[in-house]
Symmetry: C2
Subunit: 142 residues, 2 copies
DNA sequence: GCTAGTGTTATAGTTAGCTATAACAGGAGA
DNA sequence: TCTCCTGTTATAGCTAACTATAACACTAGC
């Protein structure tokens, strides 16, 4: 896993999101223990309290259960719960904003999504250096 | 404009982003004055210093020039600069994350494009309750 | 010069997020 | 019991973001 943080969002929420991603991706399965608070803290060079805070988000969401002295464990049904909840959240809170940005920038949502669905790898980092005649010409003339 | 703030990001950056959006959308044109710091502050019920901070981001980016006693004005070339810079930023910093999320949630291009192009409203809140056989079944069996 | 509109700076207080350090509490295995 | 692993709480300090309030600096129009 990546050891770097996005400065746009608090670390504890990013931690929460990473665990969620691991559950959705099947890296962590129901019944599994999360990596321990202390381990994560040292490995990511972050304060244990910050990790705990991230994990407690998951507890509050009913995804994870904490057993003192043992660890934090993924609840049964967590994946299904997540799949629904995160979809909802993405579609109502994130996608509209992203979609608006795409349009604003004169990018084509279809092309971007193509790259999403067809490839396993997200090698979408390169926006094709040839930018002499870009597709936003429709907007250019305001 | 909306009078509400996204709690995930500082207000001053959201202000900056809104101005950028207005420039890209052609609502504000090069040479135009931005709405005054004080006006924005009262209208959005935000501290003038916060607005100023947002505006000064734009100054630092070379998009806007400030003339004391007169106002803040959009520089020539701002739109072009923005189109390139924001695209770059979006494609390298934002889209990869979003794309990964889309895959993870097993969302499909059609669902996403529907709400974007056909409807003005984002009534996309319902991800289709029929989830007996979802498209992420390829992942379901890990 | 006065007034009303601009941007800008100064002071000071609150909150959220993160940090370091330490101690407390419980389970598992030698 | 002792040791080592868990989660948890307590103290205290730092910074960024935001706030309120006030004053300063400049421009344009009367």
């Amino acid at each position: 896993m990546d050891r770097e943080w996005n400065e746009n969002q608090p670390i504890y929420r990013q931690l929460r999101d990473r665990v969620v991603a691991m559950i959705l991706d099947g890296v962590l399965r129901e019944g599994d223990a999360l990596p321990s608070v202390r381990n994560v803290a040292t490995e990511y060079r972050v304060n244990p309290l910050t990790v705990l805070k991230g994990y407690q988000q998951l507890v509050e969401e009913g995804l994870v259960e904490s057993r003192r002295g043992l660890g934090m464990f993924i609840n049964a049904g967590a994946r299904k719960l997540l799949l629904e909840g995160e979809r909802q959240k993405f579609l109502t809170e994130e996608w509209p904003r992203v979609s608006a940005t795409i349009q604003r920038l004169g990018l084509r949502a279809e092309e971007l999504l193509d790259g999403t669905n067809n490839r396993k790898q997200a090698d979408s980092a390169k926006p094709k250096p040839k930018e002499s005649k870009t597709p936003e010409s429709s907007k250019e003339d305001r």
